[in-house]
């Protein structure tokens, strides 16, 4: 059995015990090893700002790794919450980037989790005018700053 199939079975079993009627599908659209949970009652599984969904994904990965140490990290989504949220925060980041380009002044985005920060960095990686910057891992609050890219790739602006 492939790790993603084992994860699908484990997730279905866990949610069944918790009393949720779900259909767990292998999500092939994201390009990652992912599972999509389809349910009539997504809110309790997503939680406030996706925190419970993060817990679900974390616990599933702990179990899969305990069984199959070589398994890749598996992304879990509930009713396409993550993809919709990703679309929303990239739209917001694009609006901030447009303001940075207009004003020339750097701006800091709202705090994000590590997955979101990575997504934003990747989103702007090849942008001709915008450079992204994050504080070191040890920083307590990790926000991304958008700044103007000078010719040659160096940071500019304030």
């Amino acid at each position: 059995m492939k790790p993603i199939e084992a994860a699908q079975e484990i997730l279905d079993t866990m949610l069944g015990y918790l009393g949720f009627v779900v259909r767990v599908e292998i999500d092939e659209q994201s390009g990652l090893e992912g599972l999509q949970v389809l349910t009539e009652e997504p809110k309790p599984l997503i939680g406030h700002r996706g925190e419970r969904l993060d817990d679900l994904q974390y616990l599933l990965n702990r179990i899969v790794q305990a069984r199959l140490p070589e398994a890749p990290r598996i992304r879990v989504d509930v009713d396409h919450y993550r993809s919709a949220a990703e679309h929303r925060f990239l739209e917001e980041a694009d609006q901030v980037a447009a303001a940075v380009i207009t004003s020339g002044q750097s701006q800091t985005l709202a705090p994000m989790n590590s997955y979101q920060r990575r997504t934003v960095h990747n989103h702007f990686a090849n942008h001709p005018k915008i450079l992204t910057w994050s504080p070191p891992d040890s920083a307590r609050v990790k926000c991304i700053t958008l700044m103007l890219r000078k010719p040659g790739g160096e940071a500019g602006g304030a």
Binding site: Y17, L18, F20, D55, L59, R62
Partner: protein, 87 residues
């Protein structure tokens, strides 16, 4: 299936996936007042596996149990028991 029993089975299932001494593990359920208490008994070597780094694994377990409890209008506690000590 009755919700508290289902939560107990969820805990038994999840814990069994994480530990290496299942013969020394169990989940006890007690209903007191208006709260359902689930106490996870583990071999000492398995306690860290269930608590996880910075408590992240037990925190995720509690979060999911809370989702089931809220759905069924239950009040629940999940504790790890270690030779009479509770965590």
């Amino acid at each position: 299936m009755e919700a508290p029993l289902a939560i107990q089975e969820f805990l038994e299932y999840v814990v069994a996936q994480l530990i290496q001494h299942p013969e020394n593990a169990g989940v006890l359920h007690r209903f007191e007042g208006d709260r359902h208490e689930f106490r996870i008994r583990l071999h000492p070597e398995d306690i860290g596996r269930v608590i996880g780094k910075n408590g992240s694994t037990i925190s995720a377990i509690r979060s999911l149990v809370t989702a089931a409890a809220m759905k069924n209008h239950l009040r629940v506690d999940v504790e790890i028991e270690d030779r009479g000590d509770r965590r």
